[in-house]
Symmetry: C2
Subunit: 297 residues, 2 copies
């Protein structure tokens, strides 16, 4: 689903905070941590690293949620690769079927071929399979946006979504990312992690996390996660034009690992926090419990 | 959603018939047409084509719907790149965040980062936005698998899907491809194309298309598409362990272009063809009409 006049869109975190590769193509270190780059810098072995592949991926990554089409000049400027190099990568990616060119506007868009990668990831997801019937039931009960969410490093990623049928709703297309520690789904998923892992995620988190969670350090964050774990669900709010509110519960596999979360996102115009906790959280927790039962059966 | 014991999976067409690049990285021509390679061969300008990018994409493409994880040896064999080159591309893609490595099994999987590409394509899809409420209503009416489908060259691609809540159902994850001319959604979408375009698609189609459509040539195919156009919907069947049956209707934009199709897929154990035409086709056609109205409003 996408931005339209009727839908609000949560703003995903900046590209450069997504564990992407701002400098990977031009120098030999990959900054994985925007807040504390020191410990998280990953050295690149230049004998093994194929720089042109990094540049090509940079061209593909230039197309984001808010940018459907780009001209050669746009790409050259945004990637910093220059016009001549950009032209070679665009030509290559177009020939390989990853970019489409509009003959009239001479602008480029990502081709539908990029979907095959998402297909590969989703197709082998047995946890999502097990959770889907419960998610669909929850969608029919509430008519709200229901998503399957997993943790990826310091972010959460929307892996599957059933959009709301309300006229105004939260729009969460697959692939959308948010910082894990300030997201309800990240909190229920990380609540089950070892302290050392939580500290690592805290150190690698987006700078908005302390402000949004009101935790000043990793120890305070752990106390928040402990409370979430005891509760069995998490509720977080975002202030936008209209406020959004998000309720999540974790799904566990047979080994007890939290493999993903079921998330319900709605607007504070429909549910203020107390109403979300009273009316929505039990439904979300019940859906996650059903999914856990299916997955561990 | 993915393969599970309870779900049937339609087999997507072979990788090498997906308009992929079997030879693009090793020689200078891209065969886009498996049936009639002559006219559809695209020349590659080797001064512009960056061969290493083709090889890296080949590594990513090796992970498909049925292959969640691969070892270095698997990748070397499947891509034909050899062990040493494979290692460099794997290293590069892992550093860029596109591959994950399991420390225990030493096997690789596609990382969740690949989702950002799908997000970019889906987020800017105003037709899907307009169609989604009608799709969700259709899903609630029928409990069957409902998809948004678009044409990409000679294939159709599943862009969004709402999975069935039935225990046995057709599993159509996003990114799934089928030859357009033998798919109900391809038939409703191409029924509105110019004869010259249909002939081009016929020539580029997978070899299964004549058998499945029982059309011997492009002219016969056009008569089938004319009939579909007159009907307002298409119904196709596939023989699998259990038979599947698929009903589609096209959604049009303000300019009258068929921009996508709403597809319902079910099993012949629930709906034989006459029942599908009587009970399902009117619902699918009504959903597409509502989506068309929203899109052209």
């Amino acid at each position: 689903m996408s931005d339209s006049a009727k839908m609000l869109t949560l703003r995903p975190i900046d590209r450069k905070h997504q564990g992407a590769m701002p400098d990977a193509t031009t120098n030999a270190s990959l900054a994985l941590s925007p807040k504390h780059p020191g410990p998280a810098v990953v050295e690149i072995d230049e004998r093994l690293f194929v720089a042109s592949v990094g540049k090509a991926m940079k061209v593909l990554e230039t197309f984001d949620k808010t940018t459907a089409s780009l001209s050669l000049s746009d790409i050259a400027i945004r990637t910093g690769l220059g016009r001549s190099a950009s032209q070679r990568f665009i030509y290559t990616l177009e020939r390989l079927g990853y970019l489409d060119r509009d003959e009239q506007t001479k602008r480029y868009t990502l081709a539908k071929k990029v979907f095959r990668f998402a297909q590969s990831v989703v197709s082998s997801n047995t946890a999502l399979d097990a959770a889907y019937p419960a998610m669909r039931e929850l969608a029919e009960q509430t008519r709200e946006t229901i998503s399957w969410v997993e943790v990826d490093r310091a972010d959460i990623v929307i892996i599957a979504t059933i959009a709301s049928t309300h006229i105004s709703s939260i729009n969460l297309p697959i692939g959308t990312r948010f910082p894990a520690l300030s997201s309800s789904s990240g909190q229920v998923l990380l609540g089950h992690s070892a302290p050392a892992h939580i500290e690592k995620v805290w150190n690698a988190s987006h700078e908005s996390v302390p402000m949004r969670t009101q935790a000043k350090n990793a120890a305070e964050m752990m106390r928040i996660l402990e409370a979430v774990k005891a509760e069995g669900f998490a509720v977080t709010e975002k202030n936008m034009e209209q406020g959004s509110i998000s309720v999540s519960a974790a799904v566990h596999d047979r080994a007890g690992r939290a493999v993903g979360a079921i998330n319900l996102s709605t607007l504070t115009t429909r549910f203020e926090r107390p109403a979300a906790i009273r009316d929505l959280a039990p439904l979300v927790a019940a859906a996650a419990a059903r999914a856990t039962e299916t997955l561990s059966a």
